[in-house]
């Protein structure tokens, strides 16, 4: 009996410790739901969730950054740029956000070059 009691107490202690620690974890919110949806490739659902997150907390860097990524995925460049810019104003030193924005800008520059080329070719065709 003496031997069993300490083990039981230890187990109870560990379980209570785990539960206490888990209580510190953020509860599933709109941002997390959105991430889950994006991971399942449900980008429309993710956009819906992150828009709600922005409505609830307009200063949520995560929601603005994630919305920007979702808009990029949908090819909505202007909307993506707007969301990245808001997120960068809120957290200019966030390195993951900066990494996302850097890649976004590079893609946009490549697109601009393609547009320019397209315009020149169209002008050439018109001259013909």
């Amino acid at each position: 009996m003496n031997r069993i009691l300490p083990k039981g107490i230890t187990a109870a202690f560990l379980v209570s410790l785990l539960l206490t620690a888990c209580s510190f974890l953020p509860k599933p919110d709109q941002v997390s739901f959105g991430i889950w949806a994006a991971e399942q490739d449900l980008w429309d659902e993710a956009i819906f969730r992150w828009k709600r997150a922005v409505a609830l907390d307009p200063n949520s860097v995560a929601a603005h950054n994630n919305l920007a990524v979702a808009y990029e995925k949908k090819g909505l460049w202007e909307e993506a740029r707007r969301e990245y810019e808001i997120a960068l104003k809120l957290a200019p030193e966030n390195r993951w956000l900066k990494a996302n924005y850097q890649s976004f800008k590079e893609n946009l520059e490549a697109s601009d070059k393609a547009k320019e080329k397209e315009k020149k070719e169209a002008e050439k065709d018109e001259k013909k």
Binding site: T10, F13, L14, L17, L18, T20, A21, C22, F24, L25, P26, V31, S32, G34, I35, A38, E39, V61, A62, N65, N66, V69, E72, K73, K74, G75, N94, W96, L97, A99, N100, S103, N107, A110, S111, A114, K115, E118, D125
Partner: protein, 219 residues
């Protein structure tokens, strides 16, 4: 000693339970720029091409429609339909009213049409195989004449907006392939060449997708 190990285990457990990442790294397929926003349209209508030349036994118009319709359906979310009204002349490409009338009010349609020429020819080719070794062919490389069957598909493609009747995109594609088999069938060659045209056209119209890493922030 036992008390210490229990404390360490408890701490590790606490930390493990508390752990939550600040970000999630995701590989995202991002669309690249395309001059045509295909998503703006509800329907792509494949209309007959003006065929200037085609080998006997092959209907280029039918082959184009049969090949492009299912391929477009795989990539385009809207409807892909065939229109059987033949084009009368090249002038039609420059007549917005012609396309507006053909659209009959369905402004969210895009016409895919153009000119096509499919030709075949046989050419003599000089063979010049270098000798593999002195023992095999000690004197000179083997020379001779051989026949090659050459097919060329020349497509001038138009994407015309039904709403305005104006061309949204015009591109020329010229694909040539040489076959060592002098009896190469034209329909098989056509299939090889239209695949190349499709790859270039789709790259232009749909935009190549880029796979890049993005960070989703959890908080």
């Amino acid at each position: 000693m036992r008390k210490n190990s229990l404390a360490v285990a408890s701490l590790l457990l606490f930390l493990a339970a508390c752990r939550s990442d600040v970000y999630r790294k995701l590989k995202v397929e991002l669309p690249a720029y395309s001059p045509v926003k295909l998503g703006d349209f509800l329907e792509v209508v494949i209309t007959p091409f003006l065929v200037a030349e085609q080998p006997q036994g092959i209907d280029v118009n039918k082959e184009i429609a049969d090949y492009l319709k299912p391929e477009l359906e795989k990539k385009f979310k809207g409807r892909v339909t065939l229109n059987q009204v033949p084009l009368e002349s090249e002038e039609a490409f420059k007549k917005p009213e012609y396309w507006r009338a053909l659209a009959a009010g369905s402004s969210k349609s895009l016409f895919l049409t153009g000119r096509a020429t499919f030709t075949q020819e046989t050419r003599k080719a000089i063979l010049a195989r270098p000798a593999r070794s002195l023992e095999e062919e000690p004197l000179s490389p083997q020379r001779g004449l051989d026949e090659r069957r050459i097919f060329t598909l020349d497509v001038s493609l138009y994407l015309i907006k039904a709403e305005t009747g104006e061309p949204l995109l015009q591109r020329d594609f010229k694909e040539t392939k040489s076959y060592t088999n002098p009896k190469q069938r034209a329909d098989f060659a056509f299939y090889d060449l239209i695949q190349r045209v499709k790859a270039k056209l789709f790259r232009l119209v749909l935009g190549q997708e880029l796979v890049q890493n993005r960070y989703l922030l959890t908080r």
